[in-house]
Every structure is written in structure tokens, then in C-alpha cells.
């Protein structure tokens, strides 16, 4: 038993388990306190409502792992929504072509940011902040007003519901889950994915080990751009509009989710399923508040902050305990040091 526990603590997925556990506690508290919280649809709604955020978080996690950051995600998402709406409203292009166009646009924009950052050795924070300004502004240039999407195919997609028996989910939610799976596989089982982690561990070492640092960095930002545009499509399926203020502040939500899920902003550490749980935790906090139903605007903010705080401190505390425990257990293991070459002098 004790051994099991030690194993769990030593496992690299430990902080993920902690996050999942805390999520479960939060959800359990919801069920205990409010009737109706138990309905499966409440849980499924977390995925429907947060489809876009999940996808965007995946993208931003890539940039965080290489010790970068991408603040432009929310703005790219808004731009994608806007361009899509504009294309559907003002050109006769088929939906597929429009979707392809905006996806390419977002990806290329991400890659361009990555190129500038890597080529000129600039700070990702600043360049992507500029990217955020740029996309937001551009969105406003296209239209300051909202543009509604009336294209029947898109509208049909938006209201399509996949019945799961216990409830339903939207197409966006399914795309989000697929993104999670693909990203987890890419990071865990491909050369590219591992290079991403290596760069996060140490960019200079990666270069000295002969890894394609420049190319990988550009690709990471391209992926972030890609995810932002995919997230934009999911968002567009929820909103059915293009609007300048879509996804405002989403970058912070995404970063917070990713970090709560175990990503280190110093790079080199990140876990995609963790990022998903990070999003769900933020989602469940909001659900909580809407079930509570009496908080005024400011109390909402304070309670969200307080819950976030409790969560983060708890996480820090548990991780601290872990490092203490593991150093203790390593001493116990070392009763018999794994290797002990007989010193040459002793033989003589």
C-alpha cells in the first residue's frame, strides 16, 4: 500500500492526478449543494461551452512548453470568426473553401509570428502581444459591427447535436476532444513533439544536440495559430457571428488552464490531458456560480478569484509535499546504492 502510494507520488503524472482529484472534489461539492448539478448534461455542457477554449489551450500549451507564449490566440480566434462571417456573407464561396481559407490564414499568421521571434531572437511575449493588437485591429477594420452568419450549412452544423444517450454534445466539443488526442500523441510519440520538449528544457542544449530548433519553433507557433483558427471555427459554431470582441481575454484563460493542468511557464513541462482538466476546472467554477444564482457581478469575480486561489495554493502545497516525500523515499531506496564500482585501489 505504502509502496503504491510512493509510486504514485514519484510518477510524473502526479500533478495531473492531483488536478483531476481537485476537479472531482469541486464537482462533488456542486452535486452535494445544488440539485440539478448531477444531470449528465451539466457535465457535457462543460465540453460544449468550452470547446473553443480547449482547442486554443492545446495550441498555447505547445508554445508554453518551448518556454514561449502566444498572447495572440484570442485575437486570432476573433479574426477567424470575423473573416469567416465576412466570406460567407459577401462571397459565394462554398463553406469548405471558406473554412480552408481561414485555417490557412490563422496558421500562416502563427508561423509568421514564430518566424519573427526565432529569426530575430525577439521576445515571444512582445511579438505575440503585437500580434494580438494586430488581429484585433484588423478584425475591427473588416467590420466594427457584428456580422451574422446565415449560411445554412454552417447554421445546421452549429445546431447539430450528437446524442450520447445521457445527453448531447456539439460538433465543436467533438473536435475539441479529437484535438486533445492528436496533440497528446504528437507530443508524446513523434520526433517533433519530443523536440518541442527538448527546446523547452534548454534551447541552447537542443541546438548543440543538433535538433532543428528554428524549424521547430516556427512550427510550434504555426500550431498555435492553427489551434486558434480551429478554436475560432468552434467558437463560430457557438456564436454564429463575427465580432471584434469575441474571445477577449481568452489568452489569459488559456494560459491559466494550461498552467493549472501542470504546464510550467519556464518551459519543458506540459501535459495535454492536464490542460483539458484545467479548462474544465475553470468551467466548473463558472457553472458553480451560475447555479448559485445570487452573486452580484463583483462577488462573482471575487469568488472566481478565491476558488482559483484555493486551487492554486493547494496544488503548490501538494507538490511541495511530494518533493519532500520523494527525497525521503529515494534515501530509503538507496540503502543499497544502485551502482558502486569497486575502487581500483581497493583491489591491490
Amino acid at each position: 500500500m505504502k509502496n503504491r502510494l510512493n509510486q504514485l507520488i514519484a510518477s510524473k503524472y502526479f500533478s495531473f492526478f492531483v488536478t483531476v482529484l481537485l476537479f472531482a472534489i469541486l464537482y462533488g461539492a456542486g452535486i452535494a449543494m445544488y440539485k440539478g448539478f448531477m444531470r449528465p448534461q451539466v457535465f457535457l455542457n462543460l465540453f460544449i461551452d468550452n470547446a473553443a477554449l480547449i482547442i486554443v489551450t492545446v495550441g498555447i500549451t505547445f508554445t508554453l512548453i518551448i518556454a514561449g507564449i502566444d498572447l495572440s490566440v484570442g485575437a486570432v480566434l476573433a479574426l477567424v470568426c470575423m473573416v469567416l462571417a465576412w466570406l460567407l456573407a459577401n462571397t459565394g464561396l462554398p463553406v469548405g473553401v471558406c473554412v480552408l481559407l481561414v485555417m490557412v490564414m490563422g496558421t500562416v499568421f502563427g508561423a509568421a509570428q514564430g518566424y519573427i521571434i526565432s529569426k530575430f531572437d525577439l521576445q515571444p511575449f512582445i511579438i505575440t502581444l503585437a500580434g494580438m493588437f494586430f488581429c484585433r485591429g484588423l478584425t475591427a477594420v473588416i467590420s466594427q459591427d457584428t456580422i451574422q452568419i446565415e449560411n445554412p450549412t454552417w447554421v445546421a452544423l452549429a445546431s447539430y447535436r450528437v446524442d450520447l444517450g445521457i445527453g448531447f454534445v456539439s460538433i465543436g466539443a467533438i473536435v475539441a476532444l479529437l484535438t486533445i488526442v492528436v496533440a497528446a500523441v504528437v507530443l508524446g510519440y513523434t520526433k517533433f513533439g519530443r523536440t518541442v520538449f527538448a527546446i523547452g528544457g534548454s534551447e541552447s542544449s537542443s541546438a548543440l544536440m543538433g535538433l532543428p530548433v528554428f524549424r521547430t519553433k516556427v512550427m510550434v507557433y504555426a500550431i498555435s495559430g492553427f489551434c486558434s483558427s480551429l478554436g475560432g471555427l468552434a467558437y463560430s459554431l457557438i456564436m454564429l457571428t463575427g465580432y471584434n470582441l469575441h474571445g477577449l481575454g481568452m489568452e489569459m484563460d488559456a494560459i491559466a488552464s494550461s498552467v493549472i493542468g501542470g504546464t510550467l511557464l519556464t518551459g519543458g513541462v506540459g501535459f495535454i490531458p492536464g490542460a483539458l482538466v484545467g479548462v474544465l476546472i475553470q468551467g466548473v467554477i463558472l457553472t458553480f456560480i451560475s447555479f448559485q444564482g445570487t452573486l452580484s457581478a463583483w462577488w462573482t469575480k471575487i469568488v472566481v478569484g478565491a476558488l482559483l486561489c484555493v486551487f492554486i495554493i493547494m496544488q503548490a502545497f501538494i507538490t511541495e509535499q511530494k518533493s519532500k516525500l520523494s527525497s525521503k523515499s529515494s534515501m530509503e531506496d538507496n540503502n543499497d546504492p544502485p551502482i558502486q564500482p569497486t575502487p581500483s585501489g581497493a583491489e591491490s
Binding site: K191, L208, M209, L211, G268, S327, Q340
Partner: protein, 502 residues
């Protein structure tokens, strides 16, 4: 003679303020182990980095197998067939050991990385170096020495024509070095050309065929090792004539410690770090901590300096019981500490030499008692002169110094605080022969002339035997013996360690 495998001609490299290489030629043949020698800062690492595309050369040509090559990145160099272990371990601490060995060339199954094979093959590879560790743990779980071994494992496994090892043995013990040499010889037989950089003359004479000597970024010459006596090699490195070099090795008398006890640690231990050690340090004594890697020498030193806290036992300084909660507490008791991992816990890379030197002094004085700039300069200049630190000027960034000179800066930092006890953890690691003896002499003279106590930790038995008046022998994170006077000898230490094992 057959066509050379590698020919570097008229290589120039200029850094702002330093001409690191000028007109250097270097030739390497297949099946040859070739050493690069020179003092700290002579330009050995720079030559390697120019070859592997880390730095862009300012002039000269590189010919490999008769073809002009010009690698712009390490990746291109690797593609040309050059595999390198750099001086400072360059691996990723967040990845597992196995991954560090295989990253960039992972075996695949169905298009995805085959983790099982990676782990298995890593274990096999490390086993050849007689390292048996859990390869699925991340690299930061292991000591510098092990990381060095892992880097070597990675480099030798790459299918390359040229293997470059920049001071791979600086933190290895004899046994580990032996394993490395075995592998090097094997690769040599396969026709690989190997560049081997080290400050250990014994090792050079044991394994190398040729040696190229650099001094101050200039080529002194290339020699066949069997035709070059040691002293002559040293003379060429330091640029003095033979007689002067002979004097250098004349060793000073050891210090004679006074009866007065400065520090007395009784049965100290820390959970997860150290089991049980007791040491008594007299004034004016040079005391050595001897033991194998991982035996707990560093941990003991860290407890004495308040970096980790003791969980049992007690520490008395000048007879008074002291609770060391952090380094500042130890500094107030006039203790100084040069850590062994200078990249991680020693230098502040982006600060200048001056700032690095006065840092501890300033920390001790407190934030409000700012040392005036002029005084800082004076202290820094004094230290640079005293320790012969090779810098272009005192405002040079420490990270741009050669490894050995960085080490000296950290020693200078602590000397500036005028401590009563100076703990030197592996101070001679990666330091050239000349300087090494200088540091040993310095330790002795500090004890003799200033009555300072010195704790000297080193993995080189010779230098411990030469400098220390008392040896604390450790094994398995506890003290197993204490040797004084006549008992201090390599054999004695080895016996003590073996005895502890029995």
C-alpha cells in the same frame, strides 16, 4: 601519409575584446586520438565550437575528407559526421536519461516513437560504460558526473567519423574514465578520429597519439605524444622555459593547524541527504573530504554552509552552538563556499566579472551598504591579479569566460569576504595543470599565512594527499574514517573506503 580526415587551416575567431583564435591549424587523421592542450582560456573549446558550427569563424577553412565543409549549425556538423560532447554538459534536464541519448534519432514503430526500444538500448549503452541507473527518470535526478556519462553515451552511439570530447573526464572518477577509454580505443580501431581535450596529463599520455598545443589563441605546434616529455609539454602550454616549469611543481610544506577548534559538527544528518557525519575543523587546517561520487561530500559541505538544514546533530562554531538556517547565517560566521556545479549554483552568467566577485561581499554587507564603484573595481582588479584570471577587462560577462576562469572568479568572490573557513567543492575541476597547483598552493598558503581553515573536496586523490592535513573519508553518505599525518595516502583512502564497504 594518408589523406587527413580533418584539416582546419588558418582559423580565426574574434569575440568582442578577445582574439580567441588566430591562424590556428589543426589536422586529424582517421584512427587517431588527438589531444588539444592549453591553459584555461587558450581557445580549445572555441576551436571545437568553430568546427561544429556553434560559432561562425572569422577566417580560415575546414576540409573534411578532402572536401571543403562549412557547418553553420551543430546540426549541419552532425550531418557531416562530427559528434561532440561539449565542455559544459549540454543535455535537457527535463527529459529522461534515455531520451537525452536518443533525441533527434529516435527509433520508430508504426511511425511513432518506440519508447521500449529507446529505454532498452539506453540501458545497454550505459551498461557499456558501467552505469546502471533508471533511464526513465529525468536527467535532473542525476549528478554532473552521471550527466557527463550520459552525454558520452549519446555521442559514441552516433554513427560518426569524428568524435570530439571536450573535457569529458573532468568530473569522472578513475573507474569511469577507464570505461570511457575502453570505448574510445574500440572506436579508434573502427577508424574514427577522436579529439580529446583534458587537463589530466596522465590521461593524455595514456590514450592519445598526437597533441596540438594552443596558447592564447595561437598555435604552438602539433607533436607526437611519445616524443614529447611531460615537462616539455607543460612548458609549451604555459610558454615558459623548462627550468621555470620544474620549479612550479616544487610543493610548499603543508600547513600546521593550531589546536584551536573553529567548527565542530557532531553527528549531523539531513533527511534524504546525509546519514551521519561528524567533523572537527581546526584553525589553519586544510581538511579534505574524500570519497567516491555520490558519497555525500557535497551534502556535508552544504549542511555546513546552511544551504540545507540539519535535522539531527549540532554544529558549534568557536564553541558556540549555531543554527545555520541559510547561507547568510554561515557567512556571518565567516564561512565561504565554492559550489561544485558552477554553471548552476556558481556564476551569475549575465553579470560582469566585477559584479560576480563583489556579490558575496555585498550580500554580507547588506543592501544598504553599497560598496562604492571605485572600491568594487579595486577589489575586482586585485582578485584578477591575485588569481591570474584571464579576462579582457573586469566588465566582461562571466558567461563568456573559459570554464577554468569562471571557477577562479567564484573563488575570488569568497576570498573577497575574507572568511575564516573556506569550503572548496571540486575547485580544480576543469582547471589546467598550472592553475591546479596554484589553487592547491593557495589553499595551503591561506591556511598557513592567514590562519584560515579550508575544506578541500576533490575527486583527485593525489591533490588531496598533497594538500590536506586531515582527510574525512565518506562512503554511502556517512563518515567511515578519518585519516591524519602518515595515514594520508591514496592507498589509505582506498582501504578506508573498501573497509567501509566490507
Amino acid at each position: 601519409m594518408a589523406q587527413a580526415l580533418l584539416e582546419m587551416r588558418y582559423i580565426d575567431k574574434v569575440f568582442p575584446g578577445v582574439k580567441a583564435l588566430s591562424n590556428v591549424n589543426f589536422t586529424l587523421h582517421a584512427g587517431e586520438i588527438h589531444s588539444l592542450m592549453g591553459e584555461n582560456g587558450a581557445g580549445k573549446s572555441t576551436l571545437v565550437k568553430v568546427l561544429t558550427g556553434v560559432y561562425q569563424r572569422d577566417g580560415g577553412t575546414i576540409v573534411m575528407n578532402g572536401k571543403l565543409i562549412s557547418p553553420k549549425t551543430p546540426k549541419e556538423a552532425q550531418e557531416c559526421g562530427i559528434s561532440t560532447v561539449y565542455q559544459e554538459v549540454n543535455l535537457c534536464s527535463n527529459l529522461t536519461v534515455a531520451e537525452n541519448i536518443f533525441i533527434g534519432r529516435e527509433p520508430k514503430k508504426h511511425g511513432f516513437i518506440d519508447w521500449k526500444t529507446i529505454n532498452q538500448r539506453s540501458e545497454q549503452l550505459l551498461a557499456k560504460l558501467d552505469v546502471h541507473i533508471d533511464v526513465t527518470k529525468t536527467l535532473d535526478n542525476y549528478s554532473v558526473a552521471l550527466q557527463q556519462m550520459i552525454a558520452i553515451a549519446r555521442a559514441v552511439d552516433v554513427d560518426a567519423k569524428i568524435l570530439i570530447l571536450d573535457e569529458p573526464t573532468s568530473s569522472l572518477n578513475e573507474e569511469e574514465t577507464k570505461h570511457l577509454f575502453k570505448i574510445m580505443r574500440q572506436l579508434q580501431r573502427q577508424g574514427m578520429g577522436i579529439v580529446f581535450i583534458s587537463h589530466f596529463l596522465d590521461q593524455i599520455y595514456e590514450i592519445c597519439d598526437h597533441v596540438t598545443v594552443l596558447r592564447n589563441g595561437e598555435l604552438v605546434g602539433a607533436y607526437e605524444i611519445s616524443k614529447l616529455p611531460r615537462l616539455e609539454l607543460i612548458a609549451k602550454m604555459v610558454g615558459k622555459d623548462l627550468s621555470a616549469v620544474k620549479d612550479m611543481d616544487k610543493f610548499a610544506e603543508k600547513s600546521t593547524p593550531s589546536e584551536e577548534v573553529f567548527l565542530d559538527a557532531k553527528d549531523i544528518g539531513a533527511v534524504g541527504k546525509l546519514r551521519e557525519v561528524d567533523v572537527t575543523i581546526h584553525k589553519g587546517e586544510v581538511i579534505g573530504f574524500a570519497g567516491l561520487l555520490g558519497s555525500g561530500r557535497t551534502e556535508t559541505a552544504e549542511l555546513l554552509f546552511g544551504i540545507e538544514q540539519i535535522h539531527k546533530g549540532s554544529i558549534r562554531i568557536n564553541g558556540k552552538k549555531i543554527n545555520l538556517k541559510n547561507p547568510m547565517d554561515a557567512m556571518k560566521e565567516k564561512i565561504g563556499f565554492c559550489p561544485e556545479d558552477r554553471k548552476r549554483s556558481g556564476i551569475i552568467g549575465d553579470l560582469s566579472v566585477r559584479e560576480n566577485i563583489i556579490l558575496a561581499m555585498q550580500a554580507k554587507d547588506g543592501i544598504m551598504h553599497h560598496i562604492p564603484y571605485e572600491e568594487q573595481c579595486k577589489i575586482a582588479d586585485d582578485c584578477i591579479k591575485l588569481l591570474k584570471i584571464k579576462v579582457s577587462d573586469r566588465e566582461q560577462l562571466v558567461k563568456n569566460l573559459s570554464g577554468g576562469n569562471q571557477q577562479k572568479v567564484i573563488i575570488a568572490r569568497w576570498l573577497a569576504t575574507q572568511p575564516n573557513l573556506l569550503i572548496l567543492d571540486e575547485p580544480t575541476r576543469g582547471i589546467d595543470v598550472g592553475t591546479k597547483t596554484e589553487i592547491q598552493k593557495m589553499a595551503i598558503s591561506l591556511a598557513k599565512q592567514r590562519g584560515m581553515s579550508v575544506v578541500f573536496i576533490s575527486s583527485e586523490m593525489d591533490e588531496m594527499v598533497r594538500t590536506c592535513t586531515k582527510l574525512v573519508v565518506m562512503r554511502d553518505r556517512r563518515k567511515v574514517a578519518e585519516l591524519t599525518g602518515e595515514d594520508i595516502s591514496s592507498d589509505g583512502v582506498m582501504k578506508a573506503i573498501a573497509g567501509g564497504a566490507a
